[in-house]
Symmetry: C2
Subunit: 257 residues, 2 copies
């Protein structure tokens, strides 16, 4: 028995999200279908984070088990040969049997892309949120500063379908930076893990601050209220990218070097 | 009578190119159709450069004439409201009656995007050329250095359909830079004007140099031969972007300030 980790990039536009959904095509489903062709066995794939419909990934991680060892380079080439062009396997790596894409991760980075201005960029129309109102980015950054650190983020989380997040809604947001881009700006989020819809809910609320509809200080009040109804609407899925998931050093990699 | 300049960005994927073609949808045709709705008159649009099928633009320029003056801000908003989302009018500006989008231009910038590596980036699959072979970028840069300056570029030009370029195939390539990018690199071309397919033919030949199939010095020999058959194949259309076209200062703008 061997275990492998995949790093996957995908354009989420045409999919119902990462996780299997009845009557809709999911990224996980498409990947499992191709894995079954290669491994000749039903091969469940466990993702690090479930991305919603329309959300993109540059570095989603997932793992699967297989009876016999595979040549990782050939496996990646074959898998990409079978997959549609909007899903790409960037890396295949053997991992120890106790590795779990979801539970072994130690750090996650998400980016949210904002296309600022009256004209929507034609190349980023599926990969950013076009905001036509003038924004006060200083107010946005001030509002964001109240969220850095370890807090109960219940006010920015939607009801989780699984139990763990509900039991403990405390998360540590290590970094929330605003980085200028050709089309406007992106918000970079970094933390050990995030609650369901936390990045999109924070982004949506911060945009209300940047529009002048809320004072930056209100972010602190919303956070402390732990009340989802106090925060703003979630930002659209298409602007969100799961960029990177970090794991502790892989002992199998060290051996090979 | 008034004349207006448009700056236009478009994703060329779904179009037969800038110029009107029988039995195929062109960017020019779609724009003229919407201009006719707004101006209530047949309104020919003159583009600065004809981009081929699949080529993209971030800053195409074009001009049109109209009987009565228009509110440029409202005109842009209305035009974008009518246009499909893969064509966007970025700017509308009044220009003198002697302005011509093609003949008044003094400088043009094109970018060619290379996606280097075995795995094609899912977000750039329609906007770059994926090259899986390892490339020697130093050799590419050396090969490019022979092209900078004023030369007869016949060897890198396809047969022009119009007469001017055929009469004088001498052009000045001011700059050809290699700039690293997330997905690999881009080649930046800058010059007063370019011959038909010149950027794609140069790029295709330089990639053969980078693959080690030709010596960098061969670029000099090909250039001096003035023989199109000596150069390599054109790089694919989808990696090419018309980025910017410069004009002398607009006297109508200066007046307003």
């Amino acid at each position: 028995m061997k275990k492998y980790k995949l790093i996957i990039a995908y354009d989420g536009t045409e999919y119902s999200g990462w996780q299997f959904q009845p009557n809709a095509k999911s990224i996980q489903e498409v990947l499992e279908e191709k894995l079954e062709i290669l491994t000749k066995a039903r091969t469940p794939l466990y993702g690090a984070g479930r991305t919603d419909a329309g959300v993109h990934a540059m570095g989603q991680a997932a793992h699967f088990k297989v009876e016999a060892p595979v040549d990782t380079r050939l496996f990646r080439l074959s898998l990409n040969g079978l997959l549609p062009k909007d899903i790409r396997v960037m890396e295949v790596e053997e991992v120890p049997l106790d590795f779990h894409a979801r539970y072994s991760s130690v750090n996650k980075i998400y980016h949210y892309h904002l296309n600022l201005g009256l004209v929507q960029d034609p190349f980023e129309r599926a990969y950013s949120w076009n905001i036509t109102n003038p924004l006060n980015m200083e107010a946005l950054e001030k509002g964001a500063s109240y969220l850095i650190g370890t807090h109960d983020f219940s006010a920015f989380a939607n009801e989780a379908t699984q139990g763990a997040a509900k039991k403990n809604p405390v998360r540590t947001l290590k970094r929330l930076s605003v980085v200028p881009e050709r089309i406007g700006a992106r918000l970079e989020f970094e933390g050990e893990s995030f609650l369901y819809k936390m990045v999109r809910n924070i982004t949506g609320t911060l945009i209300e601050v940047a529009k002048g509809k809320r004072a930056p200080e209100e972010m602190k009040e919303i956070l402390e209220s732990r009340d989802r109804k106090r925060a703003g609407r979630a930002a659209p899925a298409k602007g969100l990218f799961l960029v990177r998931i970090d794991y502790p050093p892989n002992p199998l990699n060290t051996k090979k070097r």
